[in-house]
């Protein structure tokens, strides 16, 4: 799998390492990837819900 580097503030990175270890993640990278995937999933779900709501609202049956 191709990977890329990103930059994070040192304070935040320290917290990430601490909580990743506390939560049982094998690495800070795994913790960050998990958080991002979860957040992206929520955004995607919410925008597709908005989309379907917008389409269906025009019918009049839902509010």
């Amino acid at each position: 799998m191709a990977t890329e580097k990103i930059k994070l503030p040192k304070d935040l990175m320290d917290k990430v390492r601490r909580y990743a270890a506390m939560s049982g993640y094998s690495s800070a990278e795994e913790f960050i990837a998990h958080c991002l995937e979860k957040e992206i999933g929520q955004i995607e779900e919410s925008s597709s819900e908005d989309e379907i709501k917008k389409k269906l609202k025009g019918l009049g049956y839902i509010g």
Binding site: K54, K55, L56, K57, G58, L59, G60, Y61, I62
Partner: protein, 669 residues
């Protein structure tokens, strides 16, 4: 610049699924008439059959107004031919019911159970009728995304449409605005899609309302967008949003400049669009206006709309109708052959192509008053009548179906004025508009009279509706009921604010059932749902029967009335190849009751029951036993209890054509 109009193939390739602006097939160019394109080689059977479909026409009201002599043509037809109540589908939703007629079977055969289905892997609502996919392969050149292979919009109904069977038998057919046939199934017959056909955004309805009245601005209204504007020096500057431009990498919304110049002295305004100007008086509608949204230098997409200048002063209020697919240059597949829509457009000019053209949401949200709503829907009805007359005038052989939507839409909006006990009843409005439904039925009678005269005595004429109508006074929040009955569980029961999102707070590891759609209830089944916990087989069957019993036992705390008259277990009512995808339980509401406006997408308000104070006050989500439609014929109807799919069988039988193996009906004559 040599701008090329966007063909359906181009659009499809681009996979404009974000706006559902998709289309299929190659565009047949104008100039090829439908007759020469598809029908010239057909045989000309002596038998002619005309079916008129009046959506939602209710037998109780029909009986009353026939008795009172207000529907003389229906009365004559009943006495000289036949009249029966027509058993509707379970549930009696239009896409389901009309699919029963189209495919000649029950939902277990055609697979359409509701406006909304669900994805068991995400518990997320999905469209039941169509599926859109984006372009699979694209190349990027700078800021442009160029499609190479791609997307499509697919009609999800299973089974053959009866006019495809007629085609097999060389029987020519014209199908005008058949509901639940978007995109139209592949055929050489003349067909124009009906209910389900989207506007230019891919929505069922999206009006725009430009106003200076700040208190009117609430962006989250159903079916429309409110735009706050300012009058500066007697001029208003605004934009008309178009479809998403999927040719661009960042997928921006296209838009057109809209300028309005107000006469300083009179209630008159000039609407200025690129290349055209329209002068409107206050309370005046424009003719159809063609809008062209640019996508990339060589591509654009065309839509049609009408403006209504509601008020010039003291507040400025300009209404823009839903932007319909342009039948003369359709970027979406709305007709077979494609030249049929173009042919009608050449003859009549632009016309409503959106599935349900009445601006019900403008009335429901206070943008329109009753008079304005009716004026707009009168335009719809006049267009419909003109096209039906045109088709009847050239109807010399085979089969013709014609559909009228106003009967359904006006009952949804005006039922509140029939009953002073309805929560949305208004005495003053009732005095003026209390007879709208009766007048609409009289209009249906007039359409029938004209059709009977034109069809001639040798034609078999049948008149049908897909379901009847009931009052909608009390709302049922299904998921709230499931929660309180212990079948649905929250991760954190105290975080009620999260309930606005569909199942955002649901703890699926403790949830046995959930409601999605207008009538559907699903068991959280292990192996089927992503986090299912109920084992298929006896455990699930027992749970289904337990929930059905409790739903039927539930009483409205305010009125003491039974809310769910029949909770149908899917296993008891559906057969066929698509029965596996049915909701596990279908709710058949009692008269006066319906699912709430919030529940169909999985929201969980605090109260189980609420008053319905909306103008959307009549509905048909009830038990099928309460909501039969009508069937009239100019021959005796021998069947005592005909159903929608029996009308299909009757049509094929009259043309001596065999039913498909999936069709379950029997001739009614």
């Amino acid at each position: 610049m040599n701008e090329k109009r966007l063909t359906r193939r181009d659009f499809l390739k681009n996979g404009a699924a974000a706006a559902s602006l998709l289309a299929a097939g190659t565009k047949a160019r104008a100039g090829t008439s439908a007759k020469t394109a598809g029908l010239a080689a057909r045989r000309t059977p002596k038998q002619k059959i005309l079916v008129l479909g009046f959506d939602g026409m209710d037998p109780h009201l029909t009986d009353i107004w026939m008795r009172e002599g207000k529907l003389p043509t229906f009365r004559k037809l009943a006495s000289e031919g036949g009249y029966r109540r027509l058993a509707t589908s379970i549930p009696p939703q239009s896409p389901v019911a009309w699919s029963n007629f189209i495919a000649g079977t029950n939902p277990g055969g055609h697979g359409i159970y509701d406006f909304i289905h669900r994805d068991p892997k995400s518990y997320f609502p999905i469209f039941s009728a169509t599926e859109t996919t984006e372009a699979e392969k694209t190349v990027r050149i700078g800021n442009l995304v160029i499609p190479i292979k791609g997307g499509q919009v697919r009609n999800l109904r299973r089974g053959r449409a009866f006019w495809q069977v007629l085609e097999d038998g060389d029987i020519p057919a014209t199908i005008f605005k058949m509901p639940a046939n978007y995109p139209p199934v592949r055929t050489k017959q003349r067909t124009l899609s009906g209910l389900g056909t989207p506007d230019i955004y891919g929505n069922y309805n999206t009006f725009h309302f430009y106003t200076t009245e700040s208190q009117a601005v609430n962006e989250d209204i159903g079916g429309g967008e409110i735009h706050q504007v300012y009058v500066i020096g007697n001029r208003v500057d605004a934009k008309i949003p178009g479809p998403v431009n999927t040719f661009r990498k960042d997928r921006p919304t296209t838009e057109i400049d809209l300028k309005v110049y107000l006469d300083p002295a009179s209630p008159v305004a000039k609407v200025v669009l690129p290349g055209q100007e329209i002068i409107l008086k206050e309370k005046e509608w424009s003719d159809w206006v063609r809008l062209r949204f640019p996508l990339i230098p060589t591509q654009s997409v065309s839509g049609i709309c009408r403006f209504y200048l509601k008020e010039v002063r003291p507040q400025f209020k300009l209404f823009l109708s839903s932007i319909n697919i342009d039948p003369a240059d359709a970027a979406l597949p709305i007709a077979t052959p494609p030249s049929y829509a173009e042919e009608l457009a050449r003859r009549f000019g632009p016309f409503y192509t959106k599935g349900l053209p009445a601006e019900t949401q403008a009335l429901d949200n206070g943008v329109f008053d009753e008079e304005e709503f009716l004026e707009q829907d009168d335009q719809v009805l006049a267009e419909t009548r003109a096209i039906i007359d045109y088709e009847l005038d050239r109807f010399d052989t085979g089969f013709l179906f014609a559909y009228v939507s106003s009967t359904d839409q006006r009952q949804h909006m005006f039922w509140r004025l029939l009953d002073p006990r309805h929560p949305a009843y208004d005495e003053a409005i009732a005095a003026k508009f209390g007879n709208v439904i009766e007048r609409t039925y009289a209009e249906a009678d007039s359409i029938l009279a004209s059709a009977m005269a034109k069809a001639g005595k040798e034609t078999l004429v049948m008149v049908m509706s897909d379901h009847g109508f009931n009052p909608y006074a009390r709302s049922f929040n299904l998921n709230t009921w499931l929660l309180e009955a212990g079948y649905h569980a929250f991760k954190n029961p105290f975080k009620r604010e999260e309930l606005e999102l569909a199942f955002a707070s649901t703890d699926w590891s403790k949830t046995k059932a959930y409601g999605l759609g207008l009538n559907g209830l699903y068991i959280n089944e292990r192996g089927r749902e992503a986090e299912g916990i109920v084992a298929a087989g006896a455990d699930k069957d027992n749970l289904v029967h337990e929930i059905c019993r409790k739903l039927e036992e539930y009483r409205d705390p305010k009125t003491g009335e039974q809310v769910v008259l029949r909770a149908y277990a899917a296993k008891d009512v559906y057969t066929g190849v698509a029965a596996e995808s049915a909701p596990d339980i279908v709710l058949g509401f009692n008269r006066g009751h319906r699912i709430s406006f919030q529940s169909p997408l999985g929201r969980i308000p605090r109260e189980i029951m609420e008053d319905n104070t909306a103008k959307w006050s009549g509905d048909h989500m009830g038990a099928a036993e309460l909501l039969s439609g009508i069937l009239f014929a100019n021959e005796p109807v021998k069947a005592e209890a005909p159903a929608l799919y029996d009308v299909t069988a009757t049509i094929l039988d009259r043309f001596s054509l065999p039913k498909t193996p999936e069709m379950i009906g029997r001739t009614v004559l």
